[in-house]
């Protein structure tokens, strides 16, 4: 029997954490809420057409990536000062961040394309070709962004 698409609620339960983490690192904790809603509403609209054997996590993170870009563009148009995520989210103000926390803070500070490449590669587990398609660049450029991102991140992870 062919693989079944799980009920949408199960899909939401399984992927909500990774999408939330991605969006917090991409747009900050305040805008993450709106982007989260937009991401899963778009996913729900398209859901019946999704193939059950596709990379479902990669699919939803690609949507989240686009919604994060929309949020960045909207912000640029409004030209409002951007709240510092660390200042807004009190819980992020812990004194000495654990190694993984420091790493994810650094992911959040990467330039857009590098951050998307890193997240789509390691959280979404997408191949370079799909990362390139999601970001809208060549496969070679996606590979380069990923490498540049990793080079920066290496500095915050104790070897």
């Amino acid at each position: 029997m062919s693989k079944q698409l799980p009920p949408f609620q199960r899909f939401l339960d399984v992927h909500r954490d990774v999408v939330w983490r991605f969006l917090v690192s991409a747009v900050g904790p305040v805008e993450a809420e709106d982007c989260f809603q937009e991401t899963f509403i778009a996913a729900l609209r398209a859901y019946p057409r999704l193939r059950a054997d596709s990379n479902v996590r990669g699919w939803v993170l690609t949507i989240a990536h686009r919604k994060a870009l929309d949020a960045h563009r909207g912000r640029a148009r409004r030209a409002l000062p951007v709240a510092d995520p660390v200042a807004v989210d009190g819980r992020a103000q812990s004194a000495a961040p654990a190694p993984d926390e420091a790493l994810w803070e650094a992911v959040g500070e990467l330039p857009d394309r590098q951050r998307s490449a890193v997240v789509l590669r390691y959280l979404a587990d997408l191949p370079h070709r799909d990362i390139a398609a999601a970001i809208g660049c060549s496969e070679e450029a996606a590979r380069r962004s990923l490498h540049e991102g990793l080079t920066t991140l290496r500095k915050v992870v104790p070897a």
């Binding site: 199960r10 909500r16 899963f40 729900l44 019946p48 812990s94 390691y122 290496r154």
Partner: protein, 217 residues
């Protein structure tokens, strides 16, 4: 790339694959966002099926409904994932958990279990019922009044198949909307209880509640 850089990348890659740590309340906030998403999906008409657990004297029942009506009542022993997967296959995968959409069903069931309601005033969705004869059997069954009973043979006859007692029994045994579609009111011709998808103890309990059966000591 030098060997040293490659091994250092492995460290970063491993850490990235673990995902962000969950010590800062992300998981709670993601769970809240997911609940709001389910509500919004219902408001925007994007959820084809809503479901919710409700408590009952039998334990926690699972209810599911579409905009046509109540689709499914599942007993506590039924596996939630299997129930939802079948709905996903037969009706739509756009299923979300949304208790608000089932508030009226929950209230009518509460009233029924407490003895103050004798008839359900709910629209029903027959999508999970297989075949025209099965639908006819359940339609006939849904008209058996509170406190009354019919035999399998009578139900088969009313559904248009006088010799279809066994087929009627099968249709009743796979009733997707038990309690509300009262398949517990169908008994063997001699008065024997027959079968029940939710177990014979529950069938007896429901018939006693309705006064169709004298409680046994």
């Amino acid at each position: 790339m030098s060997a040293r850089t490659t091994s250092e990348n492995h460290v970063v890659e491993r850490a990235l694959r673990r995902g962000a740590p969950s010590t800062d309340g992300h998981e709670d906030r993601a769970a809240e966002a997911a609940r709001r998403l389910a509500q919004r999906a219902v408001q925007e008409g994007l959820a084809d099926v809503v479901y919710a657990p409700v408590s009952s004297p039998f334990g926690e029942l699972l209810l599911a409904a579409t905009d046509r009506g109540l689709l499914r009542v599942a007993f506590p022993e039924e596996d939630t994932d299997s129930v939802l997967e079948r709905i996903s296959r037969r009706v739509s995968p756009r299923i979300v958990e949304a208790p608000a959409g089932l508030e009226r069903v929950r209230r009518e069931l509460d009233e029924y279990f407490s003895g103050s309601r004798r008839r359900f005033d709910l629209a029903l969705d027959w999508s999970l019922v297989g075949g025209p004869f099965g639908r006819e059997v359940l339609r006939v069954t849904s008209e058996i009044p509170y406190g009354g009973v019919l035999s399998y043979r009578e139900v088969a006859m009313d559904a248009g198949s006088p010799r279809g007692s066994r087929a009627a029994g099968n249709a009743l045994g796979s009733n997707p909307i038990p309690i509300v579609v009262p398949c517990h009111r169908v008994l063997h011709t001699g008065g024997g209880l027959g079968g029940y998808g939710g177990g014979l103890d529950r069938k007896r309990w429901l018939l006693e509640l309705e006064g169709a059966l004298t409680p046994q000591l």
